[in-house]
C-alpha cells in the first residue's frame, strides 16, 4: 500500500516518449491545477463473492466527479471459485476533474465476471483507468466499455490468463465528438494453454475527435493452442477526426491461432447508394448504416438490460449528431 496521497507536481506524468503513451498526451489534457493538486481521499469499492449464485446477480456502481477534484478511486473485484457476477460501472460528473482510477479484478477458477462500463464523464473531465485483471483456470471475464464522455479518457487493461481454458473478451464502443480523445490500450497476456481471447472495438469519431486503439496479444511459450482475436473498426464521420490504431501480436508458442485487424475510414459509398436507390434519403441511409455499425458490437454485451440501455444511449447520441 502506498503512503498517503502526495501531489504529482506534474513530474511523473507519462510523456509521448514512452511507447505506450505515444498517442495520448496526458500532461496536455490536464490543467496544471489538477495535475499538481493533492489527490483527495477517494472512494474504494470492494466486491467479493465466495460462492456460486445463479449468475443473475448485478452490482451497480456510480462514480461521480466534481469540479476541481483529483480523485484516485479504486475498484476491486474478487470472485472465488465458481462465483458469477455482473458489475455495471457508471461514470458521470460535472466540471473539470481528474479521475485517476485503479481497477483490480481477480477471477477465480471457473468463476465468471461480466463487467460493463458506461463512461459518461463531463465534457471537461479526464479519466485514466488502469485495470489489472487476473483470471484463473476455466474462468471467464468479459468487459464491455461504452465510452462517450470526458475530454480525455484512457482505459488501459492488462489481462493475465493464468490457467488453461480461460475465455477473456474485451469489447467496446467509443462515441466521440468535439475534441474528445479516447484511448484504449490493452495487453492480453496468455500464460497458459487452451485459452481464448477476443478484442472487438468500434469507434464513431465526429468533429475533431481522436481515438486510439493499442492492443497487444502476448502469447507465452507454454500457451499452446491459444486462440486470440483482435479487431478495431473506426468510422470517421468528419474529415478532421483521427484514429490511431496499433494492433500487435507477440507470439512465442508454435501452435496457436491469432489474428488481428483494423479499419479506419468514412462510410462506404456502395451500401449508401444501394439504400438510396431503394428509396431512403441520404440522411436516413447514413443513420441506418451507422446504427448497424454500432449495433454489431453492442451484441457483445451479455446482460440484456445493460445492452438495451447502451443501445438507447448510442441511439440518442446518433440522432443528435446526425440531425
Amino acid at each position: 500500500m502506498s503512503a498517503f496521497p502526495v501531489p504529482l507536481d506534474g513530474q511523473d506524468l507519462p510523456t509521448s516518449k514512452q511507447e505506450e503513451w505515444k498517442y495520448t498526451n496526458l500532461a496536455r489534457a490536464l490543467s496544471p491545477e489538477l495535475s499538481n493538486k493533492r489527490p483527495m481521499v477517494s472512494e474504494e469499492v470492494f466486491i467479493h463473492r465466495s460462492c456460486g449464485g445463479n449468475g443473475g446477480q448485478v452490482e451497480d456502481i456510480l462514480w461521480e466527479g466534481f469540479e476541481g477534484q483529483h480523485q484516485q478511486p479504486r475498484l476491486a473485484i474478487i470472485l472465488e471459485e465458481g462465483a458469477e457476477l455482473t458489475v455495471i460501472e457508471r461514470h458521470r460528473g460535472a466540471g473539470a476533474y481528474w479521475k485517476n482510477m485503479v481497477t483490480d479484478v481477480t477471477v477465480g477458477p471457473n468463476a465468471k465476471l461480466h463487467h460493463i462500463r458506461i463512461v459518461e464523464d463531463s465534457a471537461e473531465a479526464v479519466q485514466t483507468n488502469m485495470a489489472r485483471v487476473t483470471i484463473a483456470r476455466d474462468g471467464v471475464y468479459d468487459c464491455f466499455s461504452m465510452n462517450a464522455g470526458g475530454a480525455m479518457t484512457r482505459h488501459q487493461i492488462h489481462a493475465v490468463l493464468r490457467g488453461p481454458n480461460i475465455t477473456c473478451s474485451l469489447n467496446g464502443v467509443n462515441l466521440l465528438k468535439g475534441s474528445q480523445h479516447a484511448d484504449t490500450t490493452i495487453l492480453m497476456e496468455h500464460q497458459a494453454p487452451h485459452c481464448v481471447s477476443n478484442q472487438f472495438y468500434r469507434s464513431l469519431l465526429d468533429d475533431q475527435s481522436r481515438g486510439v486503439f493499442q492492443g497487444k496479444v502476448h502469447v507465452h511459450r507454454e500457451a499452446q493452442k491459444t486462440d486470440g482475436y483482435q479487431l478495431s473498426n473506426a468510422l470517421l464521420l468528419s474529415p478532421s477526426a483521427e484514429m490511431d490504431t496499433k494492433p500487435e501480436l507477440e507470439i512465442y508458442a508454435d501452435d496457436v491461432k491469432c489474428s488481428h485487424g483494423a479499419t479506419t475510414g468514412p462510410l462506404d459509398e456502395e451500401p449508401l447508394f444501394c439504400l438510396r436507390s431503394r428509396g431512403l434519403s441520404a440522411d436516413a441511409a447514413r443513420l441506418l448504416l451507422i446504427q448497424a455499425f454500432v449495433n454489431e458490437v453492442l451484441e457483445k454485451i451479455p446482460n440484456k438490460d445493460a445492452r438495451e440501455e447502451v443501445r438507447g444511449k448510442a441511439e440518442e447520441w446518433l440522432t443528435t449528431r446526425l440531425k
Binding site: 459509398e269 456502395e270 431503394r278 448497424a292 449495433n295
Partner: protein
C-alpha cells in the same frame, strides 16, 4: 414511357473523367421489355448507374424522361419513388442491417415519398411473407443481414424480391444472369416474368443471350463503344450468340 435521348456520360476516376456513353437514344413503351447486349467495356453497367443516379458518374449531355418526368434532375431516392428500380449486378452486402428492417424501411420510405400511408408492422410482415413465398425465399433469410453470406443465387433472388415489393414502373436489370447457374437463373427469370405488366417497362442489360431464352424481349439493342450500333427483334440476340459481337459491330462500323 421511358425516353432516353442522346445520353452522354462520364465516369469520374482519380485520373479525371472518362467518356463512356457517347449518345444513347431509345424509347421503351409501357409493357415492353428491351434488352441491351454488348461486349465488356461497351458501357452497359455505366448506363444502369447513370439511370439510377450514382454520384461518380456525370451526365454531360442528353436527357432521360420517365412518363414525362425529367429523371436526371432527381436524387437516387426520388428516382426510386418515381418508379425506377435497378437490380444490381453485384448486390452489396450490408452487415448489421437485417433483411426485414431493410425491406420495411425501403417500402415505407417509398410510400412516404409517394404520399401514401406507411404500412404498419403487421401488414408489412404479411406482404413480405407472400412475396417471399412466391420467390422461394425462406423466412430464415429475412433474419440475416442484407446479402451477407448469401449465395450468388440468393443475392439475385433478393434483388427480384425487392423489385416485387417496391412495384416499380421501370426496371433496369444489370447483368442479373452473371454468376447464376441454370436453376437459379430460371427462378430469377420466373420472378421477373411474374412482374411483367402492361404498365411496367423493363430494360435488361446482359452479356449473354441465355437470359433472354427465359425473359423474352420485344426489342434488342447492341451497345458498343458507348453507342447503340444496332436494334432489332429477339432474333438479333440469336444472331449475336451465333456470330459473336465482333462481326456484328464490324458490319455496322
Amino acid at each position: 414511357m421511358i425516353e432516353i435521348k442522346n445520353l452522354q456520360a462520364n465516369v469520374n476516376t482519380d485520373e479525371g473523367p472518362i467518356e463512356i456513353l457517347k449518345g444513347i437514344s431509345l424509347s421503351i413503351q409501357p409493357g415492353e421489355v428491351h434488352a441491351i447486349m454488348g461486349p465488356n467495356g461497351s458501357g452497359k453497367s455505366t448506363l444502369s448507374y447513370v439511370l439510377a443516379g450514382r454520384e461518380d458518374y456525370g451526365v454531360t449531355g442528353g436527357s432521360v424522361s420517365m412518363n414525362g418526368e425529367d429523371l436526371l434532375a432527381l436524387e437516387p431516392e426520388e428516382r426510386a419513388a418515381a418508379g425506377l428500380f435497378l437490380a444490381f449486378q453485384y448486390p452489396v452486402e450490408i452487415p448489421g442491417v437485417n433483411m426485414s428492417t431493410f425491406l420495411k424501411t425501403s417500402i415505407n420510405s417509398i410510400r412516404k415519398q409517394r404520399g401514401e400511408d406507411e404500412l404498419d408492422a403487421l401488414s408489412l410482415l404479411k406482404l413480405m411473407k407472400t412475396k417471399c413465398k412466391e420467390l422461394g425465399i425462406s423466412d430464415d433469410m429475412m433474419k440475416r443481414a442484407v446479402n451477407v453470406g448469401f449465395s450468388g443465387g440468393e443475392k439475385k433472388r433478393n434483388e427480384v424480391l425487392q423489385m416485387a415489393l417496391l412495384e416499380p414502373k421501370f426496371c433496369v436489370l444489370d447483368e442479373t444472369d452473371s454468376g447464376l447457374d441454370i436453376d437459379a437463373l430460371k427462378i430469377v427469370a420466373d420472378g421477373v416474368n411474374a412482374l411483367r405488366d402492361p404498365k411496367r417497362s423493363f430494360l435488361i442489360i446482359t452479356h449473354y443471350q441465355r437470359l433472354l431464352d427465359y425473359i423474352k424481349p420485344d426489342v434488342v439493342h447492341v451497345l458498343a463503344g458507348g453507342k447503340i450500333v444496332k436494334t432489332g427483334g429477339p432474333e438479333l440476340a440469336q444472331e449475336l450468340e451465333k456470330q459473336g459481337y465482333a462481326e456484328i459491330i464490324e458490319a455496322v462500323a
